[in-house]
Symmetry: C2
DNA sequence: GTGCACATGTAATGTGTTACATGATTAT
DNA sequence: ATAATCATGTAACACATTACATGTGCAC
């Protein structure tokens, strides 16, 4: 049994959560929306779907047209997948994982993907806790980085390496500011 | 002959540009500095170094201690690599590549790595041109994203998906602001 | 019924991750 | 001499990319 689920697999599960879709639909989503940097190539998506199916996270959609799901003898026809109960549980568990320092330092993109999928899959309260913890870790991490920056500056002249490091810090601080604002808006929306 | 050079290989070449180092030195740099999310595992670095050596981009350092470079019979001893002329040319060519819209949209991390390595490897003027072009593409891209955001907002309610998209835009705009400021500082430093 | 867009499959390749193994060097 | 640290090597595995192959349905 394989323990780990790849980010791509979670992305697929997350997209299937609101509605059943075919591999082709998913590819188009990856190709045309904000999720552009996930694969979109058939060589990654179809195998990933088969892995999810083998694990029981997704299944051919029952409520689907002419010859029903379980009977796709000789394929090459549009095949719609739905998230199963197990798949939904797996997705939710991932969404509920506590945020660590390493998550914000090393895996920001994955963290943001998780946030994007929260609506509809976890209670609003969990989303707010997520943001709180995100703010805490981001705040700590950006402080760490700023301290390192001062050390670097003391040793080196003005240097593109130092400037690039600064760019990273700026981007992180922008995300932090966004998080505070987002939490305020969600709180207001919840009341 | 293999055409493509991986980002990790460029990262290694860039680190070897200012001074010759061993694989272990490079790993420590990856493990402890701002370059944290590059591998740092022996299973990625040593093979990458051998690929670079096979391609003639790096070579055992000549100006190195007791038994000189070309004679590393039974190894398992510290082995220092230096960037060759060819390696330097390859690195420079990569640094000078024009920035495209897809670079800023899909490969920002690589772009920033290139920027970090510019000092000492390309003329200051090239760095300034790089930033100009970066600003232009980032400006265009963030405008594109903002337009999409309005479309999304018109259709959907307040939604973590939309908020996550906003976070990405904020981060990009912060990078853009940084670029303008960085260019101004470099200009001043150049005068 | 021919051509094109839709839809899926898959083999070859390269690379990163993990986990382990093992040879040198240094300190005690 | 032994242990710890330094330093490199490598095998198993999973995955993404590329490029190609193939089937399906609709428009004309």
């Amino acid at each position: 049994m394989k323990a780990k689920t790849s980010t791509l697999e979670y992305a697929l599960a997350g997209l299937l959560a609101p509605k059943a879709q075919s591999g082709y639909d998913l590819r188009k989503t990856f190709a045309t929306t904000a999720m552009r940097h996930y694969s979109d190539s058939p060589g990654s998506i179809y195998p990933a779907l088969r892995r999810l199916e083998a694990r029981g996270w997704i299944a051919p959609d029952a409520g689907n047209d002419s010859d029903d799901g379980h009977q796709r003898e000789n394929a090459r026809r549009r095949q719609v997948f739905a998230l199963t109960r197990e798949g939904r549980d797996g997705l939710t568990a991932w969404l509920m994982l506590p945020i660590t320092r390493d998550d914000v330092a090393l895996r920001l993109a994955e963290i943001m993907l998780r946030f994007a999928f929260m609506d509809g899959n976890v209670p609003r309260a969990a989303t707010l806790v997520f943001l709180e913890r995100f703010e805490r870790e981001m705040d700590g991490y950006t402080r760490e980085l700023r301290a390192n920056l001062e050390t670097m500056r003391a040793k080196l002249p003005l240097h593109t390496g130092v400037l690039a490091f600064e760019a990273g810090i700026h981007a992180m601080e922008a995300q932090l500011a966004w998080a505070r604002q987002a939490r305020a808006r969600l709180l207001e929306d919840t009341r």
